[in-house]
Subunit: 278 residues, 2 copies
Amino acid sequence: MRHQVTSPTKPSAAVVVPPDTASLSPAEARALFRAGLAVPTAGWSAGYAQANLIIVPKAQAFDVLLFAQRNPKPCPILGVLDAGETAGPLLAGGDIRTDVPKYTVYEDGVKVAEPTDITPYWRDDLVTFIVGCSFTFEAALQEAGIRVAHIDQGVNVPMYRTSVRCEPAGAMAGPLVVSMRPIPASQVADAARVTSRYPAVHGAPVHVGNPAEIGIEDLGRPDFGDPVEVPEGCIPVFWACGVTPQAAVMESRPALAIGHAPGHMLITDAKDSAYLVP
Amino acid sequence: MRHQVTSPTKPSAAVVVPPDTASLSPAEARALFRAGLAVPTAGWSAGYAQANLIIVPKAQAFDVLLFAQRNPKPCPILGVLDAGETAGPLLAGGDIRTDVPKYTVYEDGVKVAEPTDITPYWRDDLVTFIVGCSFTFEAALQEAGIRVAHIDQGVNVPMYRTSVRCEPAGAMAGPLVVSMRPIPASQVADAARVTSRYPAVHGAPVHVGNPAEIGIEDLGRPDFGDPVEVPEGCIPVFWACGVTPQAAVMESRPALAIGHAPGHMLITDAKDSAYLVP
């Protein structure tokens, strides 16, 4: 896992990664990020749901919400903050402008900054969408005896733009983005079964096997995150990814949009188990 | 079932209810309504999903969609037509302005008309929300051996405003509206189990038993639809109802809003089974 601290705006030098990040409460984790720590969040606050972020001006909010409604697998909405609101039930006592370890800021669809604090960009008309993340079902995969390669290898999950187009909504259009986990052939069915029980956090896989069929040319060069080795006997399995709405926002080129930096998630107060269906 | 034809705008006199409405295709059913037939749709086009309708100007559309996102049990969105659009994949070859048997038109939150054709009210900025309906799971209840009283008694399902408030969204706020079906005590668990497998069309009951606990004073006087008898040995069971967004729209008093008339639903091309989860 990369532990570089790249915050230009928060007093990060004094903040170090505690020894047992899995046992931190979501509020404790968010306090560390608020203080300037900028690291990927995989494995943090075990049992609590992590989430993707997409923040747009109110004028674009209907298109984003409709895009999510039409593309529920990549864009499962866990919560929406009202225009200008910076806290809510998923981050009690928190502040959405500082509590994510690292953000991505887009102006006219172009990435202009990766700050650790978006307070300087904040406007009262910004609407925050909190989107489910597949990290939520990884503990369930592990409990079912299925190894999660990027956790084993200590890196960020690999994510890819695909040739599959999402259903457009107003100005929002873009490719389906997927995350990939190599799964032993004998466990692919189990992985599909386990994750299908978490429909609010991407659910069952969208593709199993040949990456080329969904337009991925080289598994070793992900568009976001880090590459992972695909061990002998494993098949690449692809899940819809919450970076998808960011990709569509980039294509729609609003004057301003803000997301989380891939792998640097919002740690919410919701339990993973809250998103499990029978 | 009430078979009165109350259309001021469609040539209804010549249109009669065919003998076997259950076997009509959705397109055939919509053609009859387009021609002026104005009857409740319970039992029509067996196996196909019926839907609630809420149509608002684009300026109100974000609030309606966010209200639905925050209140998914009463407001499960099956589809959204873009501003000005009158057809879509749920009503292939249809026209949302004529294909519902009867509509309800609100101006400034006050019901001003119940036409069978909303073409005179149509504007290019109107956004149509198609919302799931509990009629979808009634066939599954019957297949599980559970009688559906309002079908047996040949009336519209009874619907009630409750004292439970929905989660507000912008200008949208209002009470949870529920539908009621009397269920034998020994089958309440089965009814909950069967309907929980249809989360996109209201899912499991929101309340079982004493109506007063959710602010319903008299089961014999529903706010919408018709009263049904509660047979000896049966318990009233309440499901979230797709009339809920109409109630919230009325409270938010937009200049114009249009819904279906309760019980007079859009018959979609989607199969009931499309909304069944494992």
